[in-house]
């Protein structure tokens, strides 16, 4: 087990380095975008004098490296600063939205992961049957349509008929049950979008193993196919499945801006898009770091879990 802990420590340290590199990259990318905050906010109304005055007020007239170091000094002390656009503390801006984003991601994952694992096992069991082909066709169809299209279809059939709300209006005082109800359509959309990937990975990983000699042995013993898959194939197929689940979870946190817009869901995606459009660099940095941290942590978790699932990796010689 100590090897696991040292791996976790090593990976966390590397993760911090990754986050630092990302903050430099994001800052440089924001700098490379044409125009700055003052121009983006004033837009068509900008005049050279007002842009200059705005820059002075925001400190945008300082050289880029000074601004970056100022930001870094604050960030190292846990102070991510205030939004340049509306002077609100970043923690205020992000707090509620991060909670919403995590809620939606977990909600979608809670439906999608069990569903895709179960379907994956079933289609592996009945591979090449009509059932296998039908499930695959449906899953591939839903992943192939753009998210907004899936969302609109759900709205037409489930919202316009009055079953579920088309807009996800949640606030701090919404009860948990109510939140599950209101966020059902966005969660279902995301489920349809991510299920195919995880399900097909499960199917492929299991079928891959079914050709190996130890499975053949089990079959010769007269074991039932379902038992073979659950007790003999699945444990060995866990590593690739865990990895693909982790990638999809990271996607659910970082890549759902389209779904947020269609269902008017106040999550981090829209915040990121608005902040990039307005060149609001402290907010862009903070959100990008959250997204990066989600990837780093989920990948780490996936590695730990797949190591634990494989005794050969724990007891290395």
């Amino acid at each position: 087990m100590s090897e696991i802990w040292s791996m976790v420590a090593r990976r966390l340290a590397l993760g911090l380095v990754t986050l630092f590199v990302i903050s430099v990259l994001i800052f440089s990318a924001t700098e490379l975008l044409p125009g700055d905050m003052a121009q983006a906010i004033l837009g068509q109304s900008a005049t050279p004098e007002t842009v200059a005055a705005f820059r002075r007020e925001l400190g945008l007239d300082l050289p880029a490296h000074t601004r970056y170091l100022n930001w870094l000094a604050g960030a190292l002390q846990g102070d991510f600063g205030t939004s340049l656009a509306n002077k609100r503390p970043i923690s205020d801006l992000i707090g509620m939205r991060l909670g919403n984003t995590l809620f939606l991601a977990l909600y979608a994952a809670a439906i999608a992961v069990p569903l895709s694992l179960a379907l994956g096992v079933l289609v592996a069991l009945f591979r090449n049957s009509v059932f296998d082909r039908t499930v695959n066709a449906i899953a591939l169809t839903s992943i192939s349509f753009p998210e907004f299209f899936v969302a609109y279809i759900l709205i037409v059939y489930l919202a316009q008929t009055g079953l579920f709300p088309s807009m996800t209006r949640i606030s701090a005082d919404t009860s948990f049950g109510e939140m599950l109800y209101r966020a059902f359509l966005p969660a279902l959309t995301l489920t349809l979008v991510v299920t195919a990937h995880m399900m097909r990975m499960t199917r492929a990983a299991i079928i891959n193993l079914l050709a190996s000699p130890y499975i053949e042995m089990a079959r010769l013993k007269g074991m039932k196919p379902m038992r073979i898959i659950l007790h003999h194939a699945l444990p060995n197929a866990l590593a690739p499945i865990i990895n693909v689940v982790a990638l999809n979870l990271a996607y659910l946190i970082t890549g759902v801006v389209v779904v947020e817009v269609v269902f008017v869901y106040p999550g981090l995606g829209q915040l990121m898009v608005d902040s990039v459009a307005k060149r609001d660099f402290p907010v862009v940095q903070a959100v990008a770091l959250i997204f990066a941290a989600a990837y780093v942590l989920l990948n780490l978790l996936a590695d730990v879990l797949s190591t634990l699932s494989n005794p050969r990796l724990i007891h290395r010689r």
């Binding site: 125009g35 121009q39 068509q44 900008a46 005055a53 656009a85 919202a159 269609v262």
Partner: protein, 523 residues
């Protein structure tokens, strides 16, 4: 009570400003005075509006307001010195009355008595001065800086009187003070707090999450007894056009703005939904850089003006929700609109003849467009190119990114797409975008006679002469200007049949001049 006194130097001035007096009375009687006296507005209900604008970067700072969400939200909680009534005339709001010196250089505004901010503080002349000063001076970053630059001096005379001195006579000056950037905010030590939501308007802010929405409740002490009928407001950001229409159809909201013109006919068929459109001053334009070849030749500009099919633009780009433009920015609803001018129409032969006059047989130009300029700008460019080809004009439509459009394309590339929400007065519109040296003169156009007429008309007190000057200016702009103005676009919005609207709905901005929140009511 709400009477605007215009005590000025003579009958001619009165003629010019008559509108304002009439409007004072109109405010007294309420927006329905003219028509349905039986359908008196009812109090109560929670109005939920779905807006097609709004971003997480929005703020309470009036210097940076730029789109309909912040504008409607600001109108709900703030008051300006003056207000543009639904019929386009000017009424007093924070200013109870005003008068001008005979040369229209010095303006004296009386602040309404017993008017208080939500915090309880009385509105005084100091607050007015601080609110306007916020946009003036070296350190101002305000988008409204160019429009308040005409004020050379401001002082208070007692706690309820503000005297403003202009750098030149301007008979329309009080109109400028209705601009949405210029709300009257509470001041301390001569400065307003641009991060405060405190205002003297009809609703008090309860909560606000930028890019998500705002909740407001009725101001129980609001001075306008015949306005602000709702118990509360919920203004929500719903950026996706389909999501907005769905929200209205499924009853999540009562009113939405910015209807997608491609699907408006479908929305109309939905039961219990009313589509409302107003045509005012909003127009879409293609300004050419008058300093750069080939646009420095007026014959080329005229050739381009005759090479565009305006009616087709209105039919296809606006889906019929608009009217054709005549290459000047004054809309048919405005006071001095020159209806008598010859309407430019699609005529490839005429366009060819102007090309010939310019010594050309064919013309190759690039038009830079993006939907940031106006919805459908790229399509409009393609349509333009298609029709202009018949006149030997080859237009290459360059699709520019929406992001950064206003600083890296507009007023940078020689020929671009752009739009104007429009201004309440002819002088304001011309001074903003057509006067020589104006910061937003997007076509870099400079016409000596036009500029002279503009200055003359601004301080002209005789209505007939004034009208003549503005007609001449529209004619010059139309025939010698450097901007193709093919269409005036309506504001298209929709509401459920539970929401009642007055007989006359303001057309100066979307949602009844942003004032649906205080002019509309529930049945």
């Amino acid at each position: 009570m709400t009477k605007s006194k215009i005590l000025t130097g003579g009958i001619s001035r009165r003629g010019v400003l008559q509108g304002a007096t009439a409007l004072g009375t109109a405010a007294l009687l309420g927006p329905l005075a003219a028509g349905r006296a039986s359908a008196a507005p009812k109090k109560g209900g929670m109005l939920r509006i779905g807006m097609g604008h709004g971003a997480t970067s929005d703020s309470y700072d009036p210097a940076t307001w730029d789109q309909a969400f912040v504008q409607v939200f600001a109108t709900a909680r703030h008051g300006n010195l003056t207000e543009i009534a639904a019929d386009g005339s000017l009424v007093g709001e924070v200013a109870e009355s005003w008068e001008a010196s005979a040369d229209a250089v010095t303006w004296t505004f009386k602040v309404r008595k017993d008017l208080a901010f939500h915090s309880g503080k009385t509105v005084t002349a100091e607050d007015v001065i601080a609110s306007i000063n916020y946009h003036r001076g070296e350190e101002s970053k305000s988008a409204a800086k160019p429009i308040v630059e005409v004020i050379s001096d401001m002082r208070s005379d007692g706690s309820d009187t503000v005297v403003m001195t202009l750098n030149a006579g301007n008979a329309d000056f009080p109109f400028i003070l209705s601009d949405y950037h210029l709300p009257i905010m509470a001041s301390a030590g001569g400065k307003i707090d641009p991060t405060s939501s405190d205002g003297c308007g009809g609703y008090i802010v309860e909560s606000y999450e930028p890019g998500v929405g705002a909740k407001l409740k009725r101001n129980p002490n609001y001075w306008k007894s015949d306005r602000a009928h709702f118990d509360g407001l919920e203004i929500l950001v719903i950026l996706d056009a389909t999501a907005r229409q769905n929200a209205l159809i499924t009853g999540e909201v009562d009113v939405i703005d910015k209807i997608d013109l491609n699907t408006v006919h479908l929305l109309k068929r939905a039961p219990g939904i009313k589509v409302l459109s107003t045509t005012g001053t909003q127009h879409y334009v293609f300004p050419m850089d008058a300093r750069a070849a080939p646009f420095n030749d007026n014959n080329v500009r005229l050739a381009l003006k005759y090479a565009i099919d305006r009616q087709e633009m209105v039919d296809k780009i606006l889906n019929g929700y608009g009217s054709v433009g005549n290459d000047h920015p004054i809309g048919p609803s405005q006071r001095y609109h020159a209806a008598e001018l010859e309407q430019h129409s699609y005529d490839p032969d005429k366009a060819k003849s102007f090309l010939k006059k310019a010594g050309l047989t064919s013309l190759d130009v690039s038009l830079s467009a993006a939907d940031a300029a106006f919805t459908g700008a790229v399509d409009a460019g393609v349509l333009y190119a298609e029709k202009a080809a018949a006149a030997g004009i080859n237009i290459t439509v360059v699709r520019e990114p929406n992001d950064g459009y206003w600083d890296s394309v507009w007023m940078q590339k020689p020929w671009v797409a752009s739009y104007w929400g429009g201004r309440a007065t002819e002088d304001w519109m011309f001074s903003t975008a057509y006067a020589d040296g104006a910061p937003w003169n997007e076509s870099f156009w400079s016409h000596e006679k036009f500029n002279k007429l503009l200055a003359q008309a601004r301080s002209e007190l005789d209505d007939t002469k004034r009208r003549q000057a503005y007609v001449d200016m529209q004619s010059i702009c139309s025939n010698e200007g450097s901007t193709v103005i093919p269409m005036f676009a309506s504001y298209v919005m929709a509401h459920t049949d539970k929401v009642m609207t007055p007989e006359t709905v303001g057309a100066n901005w979307t949602l009844d001049g942003f004032r649906a929140v205080e002019r509309w009511w529930f049945a």
